[in-house]
């Protein structure tokens, strides 16, 4: 009977994990470029135990397989990269990706991470940096004297040269794409790292096949749907309670068994 306690405990653990990730989603409902993640549960393995059964033809007791499940497990924590809503801002360096793709960001340790949070600005040296001050992987420097910095749908960063009055191209923001973006590993700071299961990053120009367009003066909102998260939270809470009820009832049954020899 102790096995049933284990089944109940697997339910508590799985639902706890779901609630953890739901809480994280809800906390990030206002984080630009945030992508929802979920703890995906599946049933655990099954084992056959031999039990006595009646063979109706032979009128005899025979052995039979009785299949017993072992509870529930968290099979993975996939992240869903559905498009978030696009909110306009006044800042031309706020960039939203409409469609697939990630901004490649160079981390201080030299590695490249990928994210969809498009809150860019200029550091004192004129480099384009993200909200946490990290450079784009192909660094773009905005000279001090130019005005009207803008980014077009293909990721070309343009500015007006005040001496000539002509627009000049400062560089191009490339986008990264993955065969399986669900396989990316979140490293915090709204950024992801490529893994074996995501496949290597493929860089390409925004607006070409497989890559989304860049929209300047807009931010992609979190793709968390608050109503959906609350519904899931209620479901997970009830499932947690049900698992707790299993444990309690089983404990009561064990109490009865203990009370038998008196």
């Amino acid at each position: 009977m102790a096995g049933i306690l284990g089944i109940g405990a697997s339910g508590l653990q799985a639902q706890q994990r779901r609630l953890d990730l739901i809480a994280n989603n809800i906390a990030n409902v206002d984080t630009p470029g945030y992508k929802e993640s979920q703890a995906a549960t599946q049933d655990d393995t099954y084992a056959a135990v031999r039990i006595a059964a009646v063979d109706p033809e032979q009128h005899a007791i025979v052995g039979a397989d009785f299949w017993l499940g072992q509870g529930v497990q968290v099979a993975g924590t996939p992240r869903y990269f559905r498009q978030g809503a696009v909110d306009p801002t006044q800042n031309p360096l706020d960039l939203a990706i409409i469609g697939d793709g990630f901004f490649p960001i160079r981390l201080p340790d030299g590695n490249v991470a990928y994210g969809r949070d498009g809150r860019f600005n200029m550091d004192p040296q004129g480099n384009l940096v993200n909200a946490s001050g990290n450079l784009l992987d192909t660094n773009i420097v905005v000279p001090a004297n130019v005005t009207q910095v803008s980014v077009d749908a293909s990721g070309n960063v343009m500015a007006l040269d005040p001496t000539t009055g002509q627009p000049q191209q400062l560089g191009t923001i490339q986008l990264a794409q993955f065969a399986n973006s669900q396989g990316l590993e979140a490293i915090g700071g709204n950024l992801f790292r490529e893994t074996v299961s995501s496949g290597p990053a493929q860089l390409g120009q925004a607006g070409t096949a497989g890559y989304g367009q860049i929209m300047s003066g807009a931010l992609e909102a979190s793709n968390v749907d608050l109503a959906q998260q609350f519904t899931r939270m209620m479901e997970a809470q009830r499932a947690y309670q049900a698992a707790a009820r299993v444990i309690r009832t089983t404990d009561d049954m064990m109490g009865l068994a203990n009370a038998m020899p008196r």
């Binding site: 009977m1 059964a53 996939p78």
Partner: protein
């Protein structure tokens, strides 16, 4: 009287087994694609007691009568009732509305599932949560880059191009299925063949667990009470035996 202790004891064992089944159902009440296990009570009602009679030349065996002895449990059919469809908005989530299973290639052969939370692996293959290949009519489904959509008939399209049709399997009601974990099932008899199912596929949805929580809770209460009755019966029989051993035939 000793026999009745075993009868009551068997009821304890059987109700423990039912409780094991129920707990697995209840902990999977929120597991997409999970199918409820059903336990049926088998009553061992048909046991014939026989006796040996001395006959002419040989010992003859003859029936005394029927004795109802023990309670047992049996695998019921896995409940294939439709689960509720839940919208997720993820293009690679698929739900089956109607009969049928997705066919999955695993290391141990073909397995069948109603859990349609799929994704794309680095090579572009459509895979399940644990990385097994989802099969189409032409084998594993390879998705080139692009926007994936799935029609109600199960045609997987990338852009306007049909890549393959999901291999949707059905089994005759006589084929007994067993679960293998990861929300998958297999026929108990490996030679059993599957037919082609024609359910409606809903992309962007997952099918929830078909566990009926209120029914399971009620069943758990009844299991608990049946267990309680059996344990009381054991205690009562023990006291009765104690009387017969210690008091009947006592010489004062």
């Amino acid at each position: 009287m000793i026999r009745s202790v075993y009868t009551a004891g068997q009821s304890l064992v059987a109700n423990t087994a039912r409780q094991l089944r129920l707990s697995n159902n209840i902990t999977n009440v929120a597991t997409p694609g999970y199918r409820q296990d059903v336990t049926t009570n088998g009553y061992f009602d048909g046991l014939l007691l026989s006796a040996m009679f001395p006959g002419e030349g040989a010992v003859r065996e003859g029936p005394i009568g029927v004795l109802g002895v023990q309670m047992g449990v049996q695998n019921g059919p896995i409940s294939l009732e439709q689960g509720p469809l839940q919208e997720t908005g993820n293009p690679l989530d698929m739900a089956i509305f109607g009969d049928g299973f997705f066919t999955v290639q695993t290391s141990t052969g073909l397995e069948y599932t109603r859990d349609g939370r799929f994704s794309r692996d680095p090579n572009g293959q459509l895979i399940t949560l644990d990385g097994s290949q989802v099969l189409g009519n032409n084998g594993p489904i390879m998705l080139p880059t692009g926007d994936v959509s799935v029609t109600e008939q199960g045609d997987v399209m990338v852009g306007d191009r049909v890549i393959d049709r999901l291999q949707l399997a059905s089994f005759a009601p006589t084929v007994e299925l067993k679960k293998v974990g990861f929300n998958r099932m297999q026929p108990v008899d490996p030679t059993a063949t599957s037919g082609v199912a024609t359910p409606r596929i809903q992309a962007g949805f997952v099918e929830g667990s078909n566990v009926d929580l209120s029914q399971s809770m009620v069943e758990m209460m009844s299991v608990y009470r049946a267990y309680e009755v059996a344990s009381r019966t054991v205690q009562m029989l023990d006291r009765t035996m104690s009387l017969s051993v210690q008091q009947v035939g006592q010489v004062r």
